[in-house]
Symmetry: C2
Subunit: 357 residues, 2 copies
């Protein structure tokens, strides 16, 4: 993050302060954050934006915390604040928080006056390794996740791993689900590194966290640079997400964290890949083991029935002309495909294996 | 418009039908229209989309008619219909109606699943000469017009001047306000043509309407091609709109038609330009005369006070770092500037001259 630990007595040349100020356009900033993060970091970020920089003024809007508030009503609070504050096209929106805040602030920045400057300051591992990078923004519809939004790139993403010191264990594990994903879909050496260093990550060893974040962002940036608008390759970043989004929608937004749902979804995707004969048993087993070691769920919640999965997955963004395409593992560790060309029986078998009804 | 007059017995090679089908992506279409236009044209458009084309299925959502429904609640009805119909990324949204429908459908298309294909079928003169071309989409905020939206280009704009046969006189005049604008800001010969042909336009002579629409679209396309995101030149298309938007917001959306507010705003901009010494008296007079001849308002409504204008104009999208920039006429007929560099007294004088308090 851009803010130093002790705002009152910084060195004037503090690089973190300069790094954020350099990316602000215009004289007005709107920080979008939530009730959990604001008491911890809003003052520090405001200081970093305004110190030695009297021309800049900062407004903030503090949203309720949680996936269940990632909706149009809450988004309107950002527009209300921006309009009431008379912000103009030269302003900058700053997302200070986790993935929900980043996605909502980004979409608000994309749509306010048809687009203003936007900076991401992710404060959760989930946002640092995944959602803050790549420009996917949006909100949920009651019937499906992230169905309304925009591709809109931030001017920059500022990551301070110190913010992870205040992150609850469950949230940390949630982010690890996405770290595991990069290993599985495209980076076998990174997966093997995770297998060796999972206890260091869970113990929040700074060097382990820093390496996991750096390697994750590199993987994500490489994929997004090749396919920003998700015509193909980028979809592979959604390993486990079709099942996972169905879980999030099916049991009510916020009941499970995003990474928890993705973890169970990743196990289901690995199971289906194995049933198709596309991966050998050891990759499926290693997938389950590493997620289990991270204390993430490896089965969906009991409330999820086969029918519930099917009806929600039918509105997934990866459906094309009625055909559900999935990201599945195929080949050696670190390889996957994005395809609608698979045996439907394997999907049915996986759903039946993981659901009680 | 794409639909022929007699859907049941068309020639198979009907060019209008082919022209819309060629621009549809995928197999699913959502037509967004309103309660006024749907009874007139929805069946024809559905026919044009599906005739000889059994793979395509058409859904529709019929919104209430009017500027006061250009809001987030109404926009959500489009998303609700799209999600409930399980439309996917390969679908096409079709805007069938005037400027409000085009702006809302376009923004919905930009945001649904982060962007789907989109066709404009404008049925009002206003939409045919201005709003359907150029990719500005959006909705109003209670405190200001078009404050939430996206730049999102339609795949194509299909114009059938026959739809103007069902357009009320007041709506026709509203569109003429934008036609006059093109003459004033950049096309003196077109303005002179309008002075000679205004009665033909008001009498809806097909060749006059066709020429006015063609020349307007050409002017708009030339400007937008040079400056899609409105970094400068494109703003000149907003002559009279800063005053006009203030009128629309100030007296409540829908009380005046957009073009009516723009007409009064254009007279105010001409008045201010004259006070600044930037145009001579004859241009101001010809501006008032042509708008008056089109039976458009040439003064703002009585409810608009100086203070009301000022407070609403302060949130206009063309404010930059607190400075209100305006489009003003300058030089010979057909010339204008977009600038924040003008004597504030001239603005005050214009507001006082046009407002009773």
């Amino acid at each position: 993050m851009a803010a130093p630990s002790h705002p009152p007595t910084p060195a004037p040349s503090q690089p973190s302060k300069l790094s954020i100020q350099r990316h602000v356009h215009g004289k007005r900033v709107l920080v979008v954050t939530n009730t959990t993060v604001a008491p911890l970091y809003l003052e520090k970020v405001t200081w970093a934006l305004t110190h030695d920089n009297p021309n800049v003024s900062v407004e903030s809007v503090i949203l309720p915390d949680g996936e269940k508030y990632k909706d149009m009503d809450t988004l309107m609070k950002v527009f209300d604040k921006a309009v009431e504050s008379r912000l103009d096209r030269r302003c900058t929106f700053v997302a200070l928080g986790g993935g929900v805040i980043g996605d909502m602030c980004g979409f608000a920045a994309a749509a306010f006056l048809r687009g203003v400057n936007f900076i991401q300051i992710p404060t959760t591992l989930m946002a640092q390794v995944d959602s803050s990078v790549g420009g996917k923004t949006g909100i949920n519809h009651p019937l499906g996740k992230n169905l309304i939004g925009a591709f809109y790139q931030p001017q920059c993403v500022l990551i301070d791993t110190d913010t992870l010191n205040t992150l609850p264990d469950r949230e940390l594990a949630s982010g690890i689900a996405e770290v595991v994903k990069y290993g599985l879909i495209r980076d076998a050496p990174f997966f093997e590194w995770q297998e060796k260093n999972m206890s260091a990550l869970l113990a929040r060893e700074p060097s382990a966290l820093a390496y996991a974040i750096k390697r994750s962002c590199e993987n994500k940036a490489e994929v997004v640079a090749q396919d920003e608008k998700e015509s193909g390759l980028r979809a592979t970043l959604n390993l486990g997400h079709t099942f996972g989004h169905a879980i999030e929608t099916g049991i009510g937004y916020g009941a499970w964290l995003h990474g928890e749902a993705v973890a169970a979804g990743t196990v289901m995707a690995a199971d289906m890949s194995y049933r198709l004969g596309w991966i050998d048993d050891s990759i499926k087993k290693r997938t389950i083991d590493i997620l289990d070691q991270a204390k993430l769920p490896i089965t969906p919640p009991e409330a999820m029935t086969v029918e519930k999965f099917k009806s929600i997955m039918a509105v997934d963004k990866k459906v094309a002309d009625g055909l559900l395409r999935l990201i599945l593992l195929k080949g050696p560790l670190g390889s996957c495909v994005f395809t609608g060309d698979y045996d439907r029986n394997a999907l049915d078998e996986t759903l039946r294996a993981f659901c009680k009804s």
